[in-house]
């Protein structure tokens, strides 16, 4: 768990994001040692998102979506982060995850499953597993 996110340097989104159909590409920039990734619109760098691996937020989510054919075996599932509340907490949008194929082709799902909530609170991430020397 909490492994480094591995995605191509540029994602292509032929269908755009939900509500943002003109966002057709996103540059990916790893942050915090690769635990999160920043997604920037190359045509408007002021427009961007922060994302985490869905597995870090909801372990097993990828397997559930693979089992129902919503994502491929080699695809990576990202969730967009938001902040809500006072004091503000970071939340992850599990209802609208981003499926990223190894070639960078990506699309945003909208999941009709109440167990994948719109604002899942992001807790502390588990420590990275120790590497064998």
């Amino acid at each position: 768990m909490s492994s480094e996110i591995t995605v191509p340097p540029v994602l292509s989104l032929p269908g755009g994001l939900v509500g943002l159909p003109d966002v057709h590409a996103l540059e990916t920039i790893p942050i915090a040692g690769g635990q999160f990734v920043e997604l920037l619109d190359p045509e408007d760098p002021s427009l961007g998102w922060l994302a985490a691996s869905a597995e870090d937020v909801r372990p097993g989510m990828s397997a559930t979506l693979r089992a129902t054919g919503r994502m491929g075996a080699d695809d990576v599932l990202l969730v967009l982060l938001a902040s809500h509340g006072d004091p503000a907490v970071v939340t992850a949008n599990l209802a609208g995850p981003l499926v990223v194929a190894p070639d960078g082709a990506a699309h945003q799902l909208v999941l009709e499953d109440p167990s994948f909530e719109l604002r899942a609170r992001l807790g502390c991430l588990a420590p990275a597993p120790l590497e064998k020397s």
């Binding site: 998102w49 922060l50 719109l118």
Partner: protein
């Protein structure tokens, strides 16, 4: 808007491969069954709008989130 009247068990075809079936009516609620190809997105309209709004919130809060992530990220090895 096209308005059709259906009874439970009856259906409506949309295009060549989408079928909406009225499963049952419970008071002021209608339970629908939907048969559609996997590539066609079928979701409640309010959920789609909620994801759309959350995308906007996420974009606007990017700088604030970056600061908050320090509290949830695991330490990075030097």
């Amino acid at each position: 808007m096209l308005v059709l009247t259906r009874r439970p068990g009856q259906s409506i075809l949309v295009g060549d491969n989408v079928e909406l079936v009225v499963v049952r009516v419970e008071g002021d609620r209608v339970v629908l069954g939907i048969e559609a190809p996997r590539e066609i997105r079928v979701v409640r309209s309010e959920l789609l709008r909620a994801v759309e709004a959350e995308n906007q919130v996420s974009a606007e809060a990017r700088d604030r989130i970056r600061g908050l992530l320090a509290g949830v990220a695991r330490p990075v090895a030097p």
